[in-house]
Symmetry: C2
Subunit: 347 residues, 2 copies
């Protein structure tokens, strides 16, 4: 399939699942008293988002169950033992975790905008944003308890969810440490993004294996698929920040450089002898587009951008290779295409 046709297919598959996930979020996370709290918790949902993690979870379920993509009710999804589970609530739970991390990360990073609207701590206030995130946190566990799966699988799903949340916090702590000037090597950087970003993709891909009762080998392979794809996705995000126009990425080109954020590109460049801290200096307002252009050229000459692209590609290929454990079917192909899509997307 050509890249264009593949991208349209993947886009459509993600969008179809997104619409159903959004409906399910409304069911599982209604606005209840105290309303202001739940409105703040739900605020970013209204602002958009692709629901990539839930989509990956639902596709992984379809690949395991060997059913045609989109053919089967996610709320009553066939497991391997002739029973059924509500796979959709697991998808919602994972999205709720993601949402909680966005809200708290925006407070910690002092980011004013998210998805083109004010961050929750700006639209409301910091205490409401802290509390909205905290509420989503326990709601994710409450929702994950609604799958109707046998208790042994529920216990394993909750264990996965709890460990994933802990790792996300650890990753965010490492990222904060990096920003505060800790020396960072490639392996440390990769370890940070694994925790901060990739493990939630790993959990999303692996949870259907837990909930549908597959062999451990399938669960492990899907987890690794998700982690690898998640790492590729994050690295590609770092690349896009440098190579795309401000319009295309919805924030200023080179904003990572302006904010002094570590990325795989700057970590590589520093190891290659580039004076990364001197690339872009001064306040955001004082940095011109030409400054950014020159900085990107320097990183490009050092081979750092290509290095990041190649690393993202390697992770995605490695993730796709994990899919071998699955039966051959359209959902499996879709998971492979999603992996490619995530590092070839241009926004």
């Amino acid at each position: 399939m050509t890249g264009g046709a593949r991208d349209r297919r993947v886009n459509r598959a993600i969008e179809e699942r997104r619409d159903r996930v959004n409906e399910a979020i409304d069911d599982e996370l209604p606005v209840e008293p105290p309303e202001r709290l739940y409105e703040a918790a739900r605020y970013l949902l209204e602002a958009g988002g692709k629901r990539l993690r839930p989509a990956m979870l639902l596709m992984a379920g379809e690949a395991i169950a060997d059913v045609p993509p989109g053919s089967t009710d996610y709320r009553s999804f066939p497991d391997r033992q002739g029973g059924s589970v509500d796979l959709m609530v697991a998808a919602v739970s994972v999205e709720i975790v993601h949402l909680f991390t966005l809200i708290h990360d925006d407070i910690m990073d002092e980011d004013d905008l998210r998805r083109g609207v004010p961050a929750v701590h700006r639209a409301y206030d910091t205490k409401t944003a802290i509390l909205a995130g905290d509420t989503l946190y326990s709601k994710a566990f409450e929702v994950m308890l609604r799958t109707g799966a046998p208790d042994d699988r529920s216990v394993r799903a909750l264990d996965s969810l709890a460990r994933t949340c802990t790792e996300i916090c650890e990753g965010q702590a490492m990222d904060i440490g990096f920003e505060e000037g800790d020396a960072v090597g490639v392996s440390e950087y990769l370890s940070m993004i694994e925790r901060k970003t990739a493990v939630l993709y790993g959990a999303a891909a692996a949870l259907p294996a837990v909930l549908l009762g597959t062999d451990e080998s399938v669960r492990r392979a899907l987890y690794q698929y998700g982690v690898d794809v998640g790492r590729g996705f994050q690295i590609q995000d770092d690349v896009l920040d440098l190579v795309m126009s401000s319009d295309a990425i919805g924030k200023r080109r080179g904003s990572d450089l302006i904010e002094g954020k570590q990325t795989l590109i700057t970590v590589h460049a520093r190891e290659a002898g580039v004076d990364v801290d001197g690339l872009v200096e001064g306040a955001a307002e004082a940095v011109s587009d030409a400054d950014i252009e020159a900085a990107v050229a320097t990183l490009d000459e050092a081979g750092s951008i290509d290095y990041a692209r190649e690393t993202a590609r390697e992770f995605v290929e490695s993730g796709k290779a994990e899919l071998e454990v699955l039966p051959d079917n359209d959902a499996k192909d879709l998971l492979a295409d999603v992996a490619d899509y995530l590092i070839e997307r241009d926004h």
Copy 2:
């Protein structure tokens, strides 16, 4: 037993459990990389705390199992079916939830001191404090998964934990709403403290019933015991803020009045026609001890302090009555004494 002898007995019972809980926290929540994160998460533990909730949980387990208090290894505690569970990790999990709420509440309430030391967001910084709380949050779930109880009981324990955390957030949101001037009646105030404070006592008392596999009637009664005692405890806290010396309570007498915080006393006084907002005016520095003395006298004349004391007493009596479902034993007596102790304590 006289009040003095009873208080010594209760104190000793709480302290014995506290020491074992502290050891278990060290085991279950070690400092791991990234160290600064886990140090921040553990920081308040070093500053003290009575570990009241874990103590109540352990005592409830002893009462259910009908074993002499302190006689039985909490790590391998007999259940009702001839098996054993680790009751101590459940106690640790509940304390971790409490710790997480302290850290985030101090950020939200902009409190600089906790347990006589700087709050985590002062000792470290706000982003580390947010993240330390978030890490404790998922750790509480991870730890609760280590009881070794059969999966059906683990699922119910996690469900209880998740619902409790959601309710605590709802209570805190209501409390923030009250501070921002929402009109508050007695029933709303009681509903707030039920969520913010009492449900965690309810969970602590009820979790052994879930984990040891008792009848639902026992679980429900112990939950209600914990909730009632927790409400009494919170109301007594509000009373102590007014009637004790600054030295005895470790913060300035009348600080709730100075901060404009709603308590059962001010809610009652307002309904009795007292101009509560005019009782203490101006910045904390401008308020004299005589101002506080006069405000307390006004609240006393309105009958509001007696009303709060009586309400706390009623909750505690109602909570103690729930203990009827338990076999007669020393641990049951201890639970009754703890209830009295919590509203008769003078600090």
